[in-house]
Symmetry: C2
Amino acid sequence: MTDPAQDTVDVERVLAEWGAVTQDAVLSRIPDDRHSAFLYDVMRDYPSRPSKFLRPALCLAACECFGGQVAEALDAAVAIELMHNAFLIHDDIADGSVQRRGRPTLHEAHGIGTALNAGDGLAVLAQKTLRQAVRGLDVGLGARLLDEFDLMSARTIEGQAMELGWAANGLTDVRTEDYLDLVMHKSCWYTTIHPLRIGAIIGSRGAADVEPMIRFGFHLGAAFQIRDDVLNLVGDEGTYGKEIGGDLYEGKRTLMLIHLSEVATGSDRALLDDYLRADRSGRTDSLVAEVMAMMERHGSITFAQAYGDTIADEAHKAFEIAFASAPPSPARDFIEALIPYMLDRNR
Amino acid sequence: MTDPAQDTVDVERVLAEWGAVTQDAVLSRIPDDRHSAFLYDVMRDYPSRPSKFLRPALCLAACECFGGQVAEALDAAVAIELMHNAFLIHDDIADGSVQRRGRPTLHEAHGIGTALNAGDGLAVLAQKTLRQAVRGLDVGLGARLLDEFDLMSARTIEGQAMELGWAANGLTDVRTEDYLDLVMHKSCWYTTIHPLRIGAIIGSRGAADVEPMIRFGFHLGAAFQIRDDVLNLVGDEGTYGKEIGGDLYEGKRTLMLIHLSEVATGSDRALLDDYLRADRSGRTDSLVAEVMAMMERHGSITFAQAYGDTIADEAHKAFEIAFASAPPSPARDFIEALIPYMLDRNR
């Protein structure tokens, strides 16, 4: 990190720097032996692809903010990134996604059984890595970090269940509060809240109050997720890395879809209800195109971006509280600069 | 446990007693809240079905053998049983199995996404439970148990990868050594070796030499797996709980199949090679019936049972070494009585 002033932080560059460190460490953790062809090489696939490394960067930056060294939090950051990749693999299977980070999803390339097992392998390796991370720490502090990891895993799995439940029930009346509740569980805990808390706990040797990280991480993570949902509709496939419109084929409940279902009337409403009640095979190319056209006509995408801006304002306020005791530093500037970055990013 | 003499141990009764204790504890660990419908109720499904509870019983018995109380090892036994159910759910998805413990598999009942996520939920809960189990222990002893859990998880996942690799490659030349190598990884570590080692470590407060448990657990677990493979062909569906012949439809490499591929010649050999190279859709009812008829004609099932008897002899020898320092007790008699039980059982 070289830029001290927050408004000149090159977020992409800092992400790339810390990302490279984390990626090397992640890949070095995965064994290479006679089980490689159907396990360890498969486990290495997603972590080898280009990605943002947002989660480890948040963990490492939070550690620095509260007085720690990057090296102290690296194993924890690696564990977070391993778990992230495990979630991605299993999510892609559940959603029937075809593309991830610009290439075929793992189950498309290797079949469901091998992909599922590689995801399990990454989750096991994440636990092992985390336990090595806490081995040098005070016992009480180590137990706190492991509890944080359990909590994060449980919230993420609950979020996944919420989303699967909505899809299974063909739910047509998802409200904005429900969406935010989902995002809180499924995305924010593991993308922002957990990395921030873990980093702050390690950096401060347990002294930092990490309770306000929940509110900050929620708003930061929600901004991230809203932009992710928007990019899924209007992004450039090469930069974004997933199939554009994939969420619409999956029937994913997004802010755009919620907005549309609040404003659509008449034949638009009827068409939308058909779409919401359909299963994946019923969401044909033409039905998806019609829903997309309705979203544009009713300004649903503009609405979602504007909603994201409101969330970002809240994130700034929450940041000031969560990082009140952290002295000025490049790491602190970086975390603050992530707030606008979340809504501007194209990948 | 009431019968002191080994030859009069009622294995089924002891399993039922300790199984009831473990099952209650497992079910009480799974939350019940607004996430129940698509998560916690789904996680409770397999653990609620009738099963043998072999793994927790081994753990509890080994703990008693080496001087501990059942209560000291109960949380560890619960963690083992939770992880077992997580593996079952993911295996059933990978294998496309339709029945488990006498009812539809979880993905048949709830879809792949919800079943996969419930498996992840059970694995996370297993980790959490295990950590609670070690909280009251000496730090070094606790770390040893957690390392054992990591090792068991890694071996099981490697075993799953081996089996998936064989199926993906349409391997026609699997040898008995390969089969035993697979069984060691995929079944023995988590079914026998790990529960025995964990129980012995807890019961002896870390003093017992658990190295010989590997050899004993391997032979005990191999006997278990060979009988499982045989029951899959000749068992009673109601008692066994899985679809009879399911392994043949999955193309699972079993001792019977290896024996058959060693003795089949001419048109039998050609038919067998067609079967081995086919994918699941190519393994038609008539092809499966022909392979089954060949196994009966060539004595492959008799061969497998006889091989199991040889393995059981080795298990007895290994038992004497592994439990040399354990004084006579009902728990010790129970573990010894499990050796013949493994090959006689019908469920």
